[in-house]
Amino acid sequence: MASGPVLDIADLSIAIHGNAIVDRVALSIGSRQVVALVGESGSGKSLTALSILKLLPDVAEIAGGRVSVNGVELSSLSDADLATVRGNDVAVIFQEPIASLNPLMHVGAQIAEALRLHRNVSADAARDQAIAMMAKVGIPDAPRRAAQFPFELSGGMCQRIMIAAALICRPALLIADEPTTALDVTIQAQILELMRTLRDEAGTAIMLITHDMGVVADIADQVYVMYGGRIAESGPVQVIFAEPRHPYTRLLLATIPRLEGVRKTQLKAIEGSVPLAGHWPSGCRFRSRCPLADQVCEQTPPLQAVGDDHFSACWHADRVAGIV
């Protein structure tokens, strides 16, 4: 495999009715890397991820930019070639595993189906490999479970089935869109542990979409924080947590109640509401909620280097430490 990035997104814009819902996003993921894309509703994180596999809803269109997987630009591909990329090179899992599985098909067959579509294997061999993969993602009693329907399995088990189906073709990149949000915490811990093992053993690169800074701290190498369809800040995980240089990141971290904090005190809050997608102010899209906002912020701030591999889109990046 080439030594370049597994995924390279350059200058990506996605528009809905002419409105740039995702605005010039750039992002890259190297082999074995776990990259977290963090944001709230309307931040554009899920649209960015869906565009990689051209799974965007009909109203949304790619208005500019390039997406390349292992050096191949996806816009140049025919539908047939794209189908080969999906599942083969890039696989995706979503928040609601139950909604992603076919309720009328045995779970084992759903994993085998992915293999049969992309590899020239017999039905028997596919079934055996599916069962082996189920065992690998931690499903006990896999041969019996393979012959069950999704409704017979718990949410955590269904998410493991999704992961098994996503990984059966050994994709170079796994896109995980809020993979643990619908799960209980003890099950979340199991799934995160599983994702870590996959990265370590199979070398799978992972793009993790989440709003949970705890999950980010647990597993990510590199973090991209999105707000209003743009990258607000990006950098290595330690740096983002220790020295955030965008007010949104800084405030987001400050609002979380800490297990070591003083109880019952007023929590730091971010003023206002998350604007609906497309209803952002001109210039910096965070400025309606930002304590540092002034006249300069009416101009869109560029994403600029503020440290080693650390970027912030804020005119006042040097004053961010003082706001909390």
Partner: protein, 325 residues
């Protein structure tokens, strides 16, 4: 002083409607006890299916208790007639997780908040005045009164739901995952509002949540539920500072800390297995299948809550042997 809410050995069992399992029972709540003093916050903590919401519904009379006793302000309210229950609704209210589902999309904000007042027989004038007061109290601009829920954000809608719950000046507010469906940047606003309201109005909260960092911040006491029973309960400092039940310890360990260095260097307890089904649970300890410290006795003897020595009570035969209790 008697507690405002006193729950003793509460049981909610449902017959399972399945022909292949005749006589099987779902024991959603199976012997839960706690007392909640006026002005304080008790958190019910646990994962899906642990019985935390069913406990709340039994208190509100939304499901029927099949055993035990619920006392509110010294009065037995376990089994009430519809009329008696209705008279009590002004005193206890609930706020659900998803404010979008809790508001009628065709009613304006003012109409939604006025509904309980109208049902209570207040005049139009009284209603208008109280609605304006409540909208201001929960931190919304007065102009929002005439808007529809669709024009509001999730956090603003949750403020409306809280205003409606406060309309008849309840003493007990049951908060069922009140911030879980909100954006992260909005959660602290709503938690701050809830703390402020409690202080100003001397409200009593039963706070249901799976988010332990939120629970630790806002509650005075916590009860950790597992499979319809209490695994451990006591003051927040005891539960979080020195968890005695292996399930409490695992839950705490499973919350990822928002600090990459601390999170990656800490010792994690990752439980194997799944949450078991509450259909005909086994006779011994409900946690046995996932427990890292189980002994042989745990399969036969159901542990009862006993003082742990750290301020909490804990139901674990290994930590607190039955003979010592």
């Amino acid at each position: 002083m008697a507690p405002l809410l006193d729950v003793r050995d509460l049981k909610v069992h449902f017959p399972l409607q399945r022909s292949d399992r005749p006589g099987a029972m779902v024991k959603a709540v199976d012997g839960v006890s706690f007392a909640l003093d006026e002005g304080r916050t008790l958190a019910l903590v646990g994962e899906s299916g642990c019985g935390k919401s069913t406990t709340a519904y039994a208190i509100l009379g939304l499901v029927e208790a099949t055993g035990g006793q619920i006392k509110f302000d010294g009065r037995d309210i376990t089994h009430l007639t519809r009329k008696e229950r209705r008279a009590l609704t002004g005193d206890m209210q609930i706020v659900f997780q998803d404010p979008s589902a809790a508001l009628n999309p065709r009613l304006s904000i003012a109409q939604s908040i006025a509904e309980p007042l109208a049902i209570a027989g207040q005049s139009r004038d009284q209603q208008r005045k109280r609605v304006a007061e409540l909208i201001d109290r929960v931190g919304l601009p007065a102009a929002f009164a005439r808007r529809l829920p669709a024009a509001l954000s999730g956090g603003q809608r949750q403020r409306v739901v809280i205003a409606r719950a406060l309309a008849l000046s309840p003493r007990l507010l049951i908060l069922d995952e009140p911030v879980s469906s909100l954006d992260v940047s909005i959660r602290s606003q709503i938690l701050n509002l809830l703390m402020e309201l409690q202080r100003d109005l001397r409200l009593t909260y039963l706070f249901i949540s799976h988010d332990l960092s939120v629970v630790r911040h806002i509650a005075d006491d916590a009860a950790v539920l597992y499979l319809g029973t209490v695994a451990e309960q006591g003051p927040i400092d005891a539960i979080f500072g020195a968890p005695q039940h292996p399930y409490t310890a695992a839950l705490l360990s499973a919350i990822p800390l928002p600090d990459p260095i601390a999170q990656r260097s800490r010792q994690k307890i990752i439980l194997s297995g799944e949450l078991p089904s509450p259909i005909d649970p086994p006779p011994g300890c409900p946690f046995i299948a996932r427990c890292p410290i189980r002994i042989e006795t745990c399969a036969r003897v159901r542990p009862h809550l006993a003082p742990s020595g750290t301020g909490s009570t804990v139901a674990c035969l290994v930590r607190v042997p039955a003979s010592a209790a």
